[in-house]
Amino acid sequence: MFEFQRLHWVVSITGVLQVIKQNVLTLVFLFIVGSRNESSYLIWFVGVGLISAFGLGIMGWFRFKYQLLEDEIHIHKGIFVQKKLYIHKNRVQVTEISAGIIQRIFGLVSLTIQTAGGGSERAVLSALDAETARTIVDVLNPKNAEESDINSELSQEEQQKSALPDQGEHSHTKLTSPLNHEPHTNHNSEWTLSNKRLLYLALTSGEFGIIATILGTILGQLSDFITDENIQWIVDRIPVIQQPGLFFVLFSVVSVIMVSYLLSILSSIVRYYGFTIRKVGKELHISRGLLERIQTTVPYHRIQAISSTEGLLRQPFGLESLSIISAGHQQGQQQRSLMLAPLIYGHEREAFFQQFFEGWELASGVNPQNRQALKQAPSDFFSRLDESTVLPQNMFPHITESPHQMYAIAPKKAFLRYLRRPNYLWLFPALVGLYWLPWLVWMTLLSIPATLYGWTAYKDTELGVSSEHLYIRYRALARKHIWIPKVRLQSIGNSQHIFQKGKKLYHVRFGVVSGSHELSVRVKDFSSDAIHELMKWFRK
């Protein structure tokens, strides 16, 4: 285990495939150009390219070596310039084991180790046998790291609590304690995505819009193909049509939508088939995927925040998806958060948090009863509300040491601002364009959906703090929730525009690490009293 090793030789082939995949556009371009002139020169060109890709693949495999030490992994790689990558287990954020089709044929897996920060601080060991991969994951496991040893003598339940981020507060008080012998195979809890839910998920995924755009663009590029002859050919075969031009437009629009919807359903199923999350000691194990099985390991104390999104198609059914925000750097992946529960009912969320995130407060947000009370409160103070009782306004004391939770909603004086804000989106372009295009007057009709949107945004905005957590709900097309442990808040800010000054309203911004960037969560138009209390809570 302690000497340098190479990966399986299959890597050299997957490497070639990788090169081809990356250059697929160039290849397609070359073929299109090549098919027009009839010299054999192009075939030579592609041939040489393929051979050199193969050579590079083999050399890449030969030069890639890794060495597993007691608590770190060393990787040497690079064909012409040798890069040495040393990763210590204390720096590992997220590990991911995946098995693609080619790797499955050979019974291999690919291991990705993510650390925080930008650049190339990500190590991929793309062909290991499953056992070695597990060994490496176990070695790099933070549960053996000194900082999580503090509570090793406490009971099982206490241990899970200690894995939560509030433990970070004590990590600088280093306690020496006996090694942690806890076996990592005790499956405490598990949550699986049933096939029925997978189907709902696929049907309601908002992705088809994106795919439709891509397909539409491709279709636009194929204008050579869409000639009168071709249209006539289709029209001849379908006898009912009276107006070929109109029909063709309708036909292509409908077919693009249908095809992209089908594609989005397929891609969701491929990605989330057999989604399971499991709590194993101080880690979360997430596995998913139909063709490519992916198993991700996230230590609890690396979780920066949890977010939940109620998509427009899902909200009417009370469905939402939960994801983890981590500092793990996933270069080249658009999706920076890690899926935690792809589809879950809103009312199940509290139980889910109980099961996997014991100690995370404010799981259910502000309940309707408390909301009503907040609305009727004479001031826009941050209101401390227990489960049932509503204290009169003059009894809201300043925040003390008690673990009570406090909530705030967007104040009444912000209502009109919420209604107005989405309207600016169409108003300004319309005003500018009106001079040239008088029919833009009809754009005023947009004020109806925009105002409705503003109204829901007003209703949906709420904020809560407990001793250790911050909870925010807001709307950015979809309704979103986010839970941030206080110790994970990187910065907090408020801003006031000159027009907000009279009403004493502020926007608030919370910064949390996501990948190598800062994720800023903003809520708009909160009263100065609420902001004041919030800043006090933050500084405590």
């Binding site: 204390n90 954020q93 925080a116 920060g117 900082e147 970070g168 507060e169 990590s171 600088h172 104390h301 500092a327 110790v487 808040l489 990187q490 910065s491 907090i492 800010g493 408020n494 801003s495 006031q496 525009h497 000159i498 910064g511 949390v512 690490v513 996501s514 960037h517 800062e518 994720l519 800043m535 933050f538 500084r539």
Partner: protein
């Protein structure tokens, strides 16, 4: 307003900075004049644009540095660093001490001639700056913040 203000030398330093970078405002006028020499547009266009540019330039150079300085304040204590700035948008940011990863100071040629420097502290996600502090003060602040960070260091 927070406790501390940035150094008053920031006003002449910014004035010089704005005076230099504000020269870009004259590019449209110069371009229009060029078009006039090619007989594409009338001379009036170039003159009009130049007048607007001169007005904006004068306003920026005379009033903006003073205004910006008077709206900038900050405060460093054992809990965190607070910054408050902005003329139309008043922004208030707070960064807790124990999230700070590293601190650095830097100085361009203009700041150097006025004995100023910028202090920048980065957390795991992004970085924040306080502009135009006196050189010695920024060094002291840097040491102070670094010491405080050492005391309360946590992992990301």
């Amino acid at each position: 307003m927070l406790e501390e203000r940035i150094h008053p030398n920031a006003i002449p330093a910014w004035r010089l900075q704005f005076a230099l970078s504000g020269l870009f405002l004259f590019i449209p006028a110069a371009f229009l004049y060029f078009l006039h020499t090619k007989e594409v547009v009338a001379l009036e266009w170039a003159i009009g644009t130049a007048i607007i540019a001169i007005i904006i330039y004068a306003l920026i150079v005379t009033f903006l540095p003073q205004l910006r300085w008077s709206r900038w304040s900050y405060q460093v204590d054992d809990k965190g660093i607070q910054m408050r700035r902005g003329i139309i948008w008043v922004q208030h940011t707070e960064v807790p001490i124990n999230r700070i990863q590293h601190v650095d100071t830097r100085q361009g040629p203009i700041y150097r001639s006025y004995g100023l420097s910028v202090i920048r502290f980065s957390n795991a996600a992004t970085s924040h700056e306080i502009p135009a502090l006196e050189e010695d003060l920024s060094q002291k602040l840097k040491d102070k913040i670094t010491d405080m960070v050492r005391l309360v260091k946590e992992d990301v």
